[in-house]
């Protein structure tokens, strides 16, 4: 009958509809602002904008224009982040690196508790010989969750490599060895070389970059330096309980060709979650 024929033809028109360039430009501009405010690297924002614009103009419009563009951006972001990095529940050594104050020491305890809950026997080695009371901090965190702890005082060694070697030997009957290192940044060549040397000495299966969610445009430069030194296998984004959107994580993932394993969501040892791409991207886009 006429009514259903009309319905069919309207559907056809809507289905073959393409979004117009002016609408796309306006919508992409809005999304650019959201990405910049989320601390996504400016060059990546431009790249994403071009990809989204191109796809939005060529792909069939099945949703309303705004949803159409957002869905495309959402897919592009998920594409960059990839799947969550799955750290296998096997005996291994895990080295934690990152910028000063990013949350490495706290995350060592959180990670130890994670493996403990999964039935493995974790142990922690403090390889930070620089920060005042670094050992005290980590020792206390480990004591709270009954995880064995090793530092320079345990072996009377002053050299970082010797401490880590002694710790690995001491904890040979433990499953997961987590090694905390001192904060450092890309311009400290001797410190970057130190983590390269530690990595070469103990060959950790996992080398995790601990990154503050609020990091700005420096994320890719810093991630690159750590990756070149030891090859990053996974990323932990901390302080997600704040208001930072974590856009720097995109660059870190891209630079290290790895992925995000966990999120730190507070100061307590239980404030630790497996990374979920959908939730992360939704939060990033607000």
């Amino acid at each position: 009958n006429l009514s259903s024929a009309l319905k069919k033809s309207v559907k056809k028109i809507v289905a073959s509809k393409r979004i117009d360039k002016r609408t796309v430009d306006e919508l992409v501009k809005d999304l650019q602002r959201a990405l910049i405010q989320a601390d996504v690297r400016i060059s990546l924002v431009k790249e994403l904008s071009n990809r989204v614009r191109e796809r939005a103009l060529t792909e069939k419009l099945v949703l309303n224009p705004r949803e159409h563009v957002i869905k495309i951006l959402y897919e592009e972001l998920i594409g960059i982040l990839g799947k969550s990095v799955d750290i296998p529940l096997v005996p291994q050594k895990i080295m934690m690196v990152g910028l000063n104050g990013s949350g490495k020491t706290s995350s060592c305890a959180k990670l130890a508790r994670y493996f403990q809950k999964k039935g493995l026997k974790p142990a922690v080695i403090c390889a930070d010989i620089y920060r005042p009371a670094a050992s005290d901090q980590l020792k206390q965190l480990c004591a709270r969750i009954n995880v064995p702890f090793f530092d320079s005082n345990s072996c009377g060694q002053k050299d970082v490599i010797e401490i880590v070697k002694a710790g690995v030997k001491e904890f040979s009957r433990y499953d997961v060895l987590i090694i905390d290192t001192a904060g450092r940044h890309a311009l400290e060549s001797d410190m970057i070389d130190e983590i390269r040397r530690i990595g070469a000495e103990i060959n950790p299966e996992q080398r995790l970059l601990v990154l503050d969610a609020s990091i700005g445009q420096q994320a890719s430069v810093q991630a690159k330096a750590f990756d070149e030194a030891i090859g990053i296998t996974g990323i932990i984004i901390t302080k997600m309980d704040g208001t930072a959107k974590g856009g720097g994580a995109l660059s870190a993932v891209a630079e290290t060709d790895s992925g995000i394993a966990f999120l730190g969501t507070g100061e307590r040892v239980e404030d630790f979650e497996r990374f979920e791409p959908d939730r992360f991207v939704s939060r990033l886009l607000g």
Binding site: A38, D39, I42, G103, Q137, Q217, K245
Partner: protein
Amino acid sequence: TILDEGDVKTPLEELELALLESDTALAVVEELIPRVKANLIGKKVSRREDTHEIVTDALKEALLEILSCNNFDFDEFVESSDKPVNITFVGINGTGKTTTIAKIAKRLFDAGYSVVIASADTYRAGATEQIEEHASRLGLKVIKHQYGADPAAVVYDAVKYAKANHKDVVLADTAGRMHTSVNLMEQLRKICRVTKPDMVLFVDEAIAGNDAVERAKRFDELIGIDASILTKVDMDVKGGAAISIAYSTSKPIIFMGTGQGYDDLEKFDPKKFVERLIG
């Protein structure tokens, strides 16, 4: 010749991009650039070729204005204040408060002042041990309570000690906290209400991006800050966060942390900073 929108458009876009890539928050850039633009349109210039330079100078001027807002001299403040002066340090987790206190302590000590440190981070593991180590290296007294004690009581005791022993300055270290934590921000409000600091210094890091605006704003709204200190400037950052923080709080940046050593502290120089940012 008179400048029109077309003349200033490209130079402004380039400068806007430079600011964003230097970690200046979008919210700040979006308010700043149109203002600079409005002031430039209709401006007389002797040669059109000078436009780029004129636009850059106009932006530098606007940035200087932001960075000079409510400015004061830290040393003069300490000098002229009734003793003991209570300076309390606040901020987000891991930004460098404890290390900055050690640097300021050394600076004041070298300038001839007697300094007492209040270890009012009674919450984080190893916090008191950390500041005690700094204090012992500098030969300074630390007032501390046991783990979990009321931070306000620690500061209160430190001021009491300073009064009784004629000490000039109390530097109070507080626990890092998220501006999103209602309880922790309320705790900080209480500390300030009870101990009435002479100066509240907000400590944040140069490496932070757009979130620098939100957290500085919230700390200023909820606690009230007198000035900010920008740390980790040595991490190869242009430091645009300084603009973000100064703009959103209308309070000055007074020091920059440029490393982990006690001497890695510089008095903030707005002119030098702006030159480095878009020189």
